[in-house]
Amino acid sequence: MEHDPARRIFHAWPDEIPSVLVLHVAGEIDLMTAPCLKLHVDQLIGRGLPIIVDCSELRYLDLAGIHALEDCHQRAEQAEQRLLLVGSTPLVHNIFVITQLNQRVPLFDTMGEALTAAGQEETGAS
């Protein structure tokens, strides 16, 4: 629905990278848009590959978004997939640290580091 305001505030798009599922997220994740994040990650769960959520273009993330990411991480683990986070602006990084999400969900500075970690997990699992 084009008139859904959440779609103007939050954008997510998948990327085709061999052996890894990448979801780029941009804009703002708050009470209004956190359910959209879950819907996008849901589409990647059950596909058997590590999921990287790229937050480098995320401008705003509040506790509703933290809970959504944590929920996505748990559901991915239940499906025996790893969920990794990459990149964050200073404000987003701040809330990762305050809520200690970075201690529960792997967080990498760059996509390269996350891809390497995801690849190593795949190699280790096979």
């Binding site: 505030i9 708050d30 933290i66």
Partner: protein
């Protein structure tokens, strides 16, 4: 002299977004750095989300938000008339019983307290943060031109 702006609106997700951005814009206009304005936006967003989710049970309800600026201190007071809390924590530090949303506010702001609303109805969150010295430079520049700094 304290300068204040008061907003009245209903707690609902789109308006929460609008108002948190207004608070950040006000801080920026007063000389806040991008980082501090971002912290204010997040702290205000969390306080308003708490009112919407916990105070009003994810239903719309009236909010009064006051921004007060004095002596480089940017203060925000948020009142809701929701169901309040059975007990109010001594501070917003989680070690004193604060919850995560409140801890986020505690970490982002210089000072923050949670207390019963006026006449014991609802909840009031008061928070403040000192803006950087940039404000003083702006203020002095305008004083030199003998104009009120906010014009």
């Amino acid at each position: 002299m304290t300068q204040t702006v008061t907003l009245h609106f209903d707690a609902e997700p789109m308006l929460i977004r609008v108002v948190r951005k207004q608070a950040a814009a006000a801080a920026t206009a007063l000389g806040a750095t991008e980082q501090r304005a971002g912290s204010i936006e997040l702290a205000v967003g969390e306080a308003l989300s708490n009112a919407y989710v916990h105070g009003y049970g994810r239903a719309s309800g009236p909010i009064e938000l006051e921004i007060a600026y004095e002596g480089h201190t940017f203060g925000i007071t948020i009142h809701d008339t929701g169901r309040g809390l059975p007990t109010f924590p001594a501070s917003l530090n989680p070690r004193d019983g604060g919850r995560w949303g409140l801890q986020v506010i505690h970490e982002l702001m210089d000072d923050a307290v949670l207390c019963p609303g006026p006449s014991g109805v609802g909840t009031t969150v008061r928070m403040s943060i000192r803006l950087s010295g940039e404000t003083e430079e702006i203020s002095n520049a305008h004083r030199f031109r003998r104009e009120p700094w906010w014009q």
